[in-house]
Structure formats: structure tokens, C-alpha cells
């Protein structure tokens, strides 16, 4: 990794943790992270802020029908003892269950972090 490209990665870390990197750029950064301890540490540091942002919003009660619908599906699946993993979950670091989406980078973004 050249100094220049490392600086490019560093420049993108803020946008990355905010989810504001376009998909391809995020993927490029995610390929860099496993080999760069300083970028990983910086992402971990900045993710404290995005975690906090998620908790800062005004609290609104969900409708009871949401839980009813969710638990109906969950109870059916529990009864069938089916616990399917998503198609790409196996390729994902453990700890982040939702890495199995069609558009993987956003939910992949923290995967490396949890794999440390």
C-alpha cells in the first residue's frame, strides 16, 4: 500500500462509517481494512459516534401490530426448527448477522471490526 493510497483510505473513513461511500468505494476500503491496523482502529473510534447517532433520535413507539407480525413469523420458524442463514453469511465475519443482504456493503461495513 503506497503512502498516497493509504491517505486516500484515511480520507474516506468518515464517509465510510456514516454510510456515505458509494458501494464500490466502500468495497475497496473494506479490502484494505484487514491489512491496515491504523485504519481499523480509526473506524472503530469513529463508529462510537455513529452508534451514538443511532441512539439520539426521538423515541417513537412502534405499533403493536409490528411485534405481532414479527413474532408470528419467528414462532412459525422456531416451530419448524429452521434457522437458515443468508446466502452470503458464511463469507462474513461472525458477529454481524445481517451481512446476508443483496446489497452487502453497508451491513458488511462493520464485519471486519467484529472479526478482530
Amino acid at each position: 500500500v503506497s503512502v498516497r493510497s493509504h491517505e486516500d483510505y484515511q480520507e474516506n473513513l468518515g464517509a465510510y462509517v456514516l454510510g456515505a461511500l458509494p458501494e464500490l468505494e466502500a468495497e475497496v476500503l473494506e479490502r484494505h481494512l484487514p491489512s491496515c491496523e491504523s485504519c481499523r482502529a480509526e473506524v472503530a473510534r469513529l463508529e462510537v459516534v455513529t452508534n451514538a447517532l443511532a441512539r439520539s433520535v426521538p423515541q417513537v413507539d412502534p405499533p403493536p401490530s409490528l411485534k405481532a407480525s414479527l413474532m408470528r413469523t419467528v414462532n412459525e420458524e422456531a416451530a419448524l426448527s429452521r434457522r437458515p442463514n443468508g446466502p452470503s453469511a458464511a463469507a462474513c465475519a461472525p458477529g454481524w448477522p445481517a451481512c446476508s443482504r443483496a446489497s452487502p456493503w453497508r451491513e458488511h461495513s462493520p464485519c471486519w471490526h467484529w472479526a478482530l
Binding site: 474516506n12 461511500l21 439520539s56 412502534p62 411485534k67 413474532m71 420458524e77 442463514n85 461472525p94 471490526h113
Partner: protein, 176 residues
Amino acid sequence: MALVQRGDARAFEAVYDRHGAAAFSLAYRISGNRAAAEDIVQEAFLSVWRSAVRYQPERGNLRSWLLSVVHNRAIDWLRRSVSQDRGRVDAEGIEERKAAPELTDAEAFRREEAQTVRTAMERLPADQLRVVELAYFGGFTHSQIADMLGMPLGTVKGRMRLALDKMRDGLGEAVA
């Protein structure tokens, strides 16, 4: 969560009871649409249920993990929407939950934590707060934000980074 990993639906229900409101609040804040927020939360929790075996508690906080899943789903929803302005919520449009007469310790802590975060946000310069909100709650990419605000991409990246650094310092250990 260990019980959820073993397929215990009642344990999963307890997880929802504890974190569902925070998840819905975040989804609603981003989507500005109750029906969409319900779909987002349902999708997110089902994905957690179906792959809970991969969750390793020693590697992180369950609430942060769940909310990151919800955030990602909500941003995807925004980007799938024809117009990103559709249904955008604004502060006065949100009916915040009334404070319960007797808060549990956990609820009181969360309210205090949320207030700490909001205070840190309010201390940001307006131009930095704007880019953070457009990115995190608006689902816009850095280049979209640059176009929108008529500024170079490097400036947007720099403001994002400055804002995050300032907030990180402002939050201190309160939410670490």
C-alpha cells in the same frame, strides 16, 4: 441472546421488547414513513433472528449491533425510493414518546445518553452538522452531498471527518 442463538422465540421476543422501540424510532427518523419503518424493523429483526448464531456478545454491544442493521436497511430503503425527499421527516413532525412517569434505570440512562449525543451534535458548526445529517439520516453519498451543497468532494469528506472527530471528543466516555 444465547437463547436466541439456540432458536428460542421467547428470548427473541424479549430482545424485541427491549430494543424494538429504539429500532423503530431510528427507522422512522430515517424513512419519515411509519409503514416503511415497520417494514425496515421487521426485515432487520428477522435477519437477526435467522442468523443470530453469528452474534458474539464479547465483540460488541447488542443494541449498537441491532441499530446498525436497522440503519443499513433504512438507508437501503431510502435509496430504493424514487425520491429521497419523499416522506422525509422533520423534527416537528415527530411525535416523541411521552416521558413515562416512572422511568426505569435503563430508560433514564438511555434518555440521558441520547441527550448527551444531541448536545454533542448541537455543538458542531452548522456546516459540519449538515453533512453528518445528510449522510447518516438522509442516506446521501458524499458525492451527492457535494453536488447538493455545491462544494468540492474533498471539502465534504473533510467536514464529515471533522464533525466525527469533534463528536467523538464531545461524547468522551459517555457512550463509548
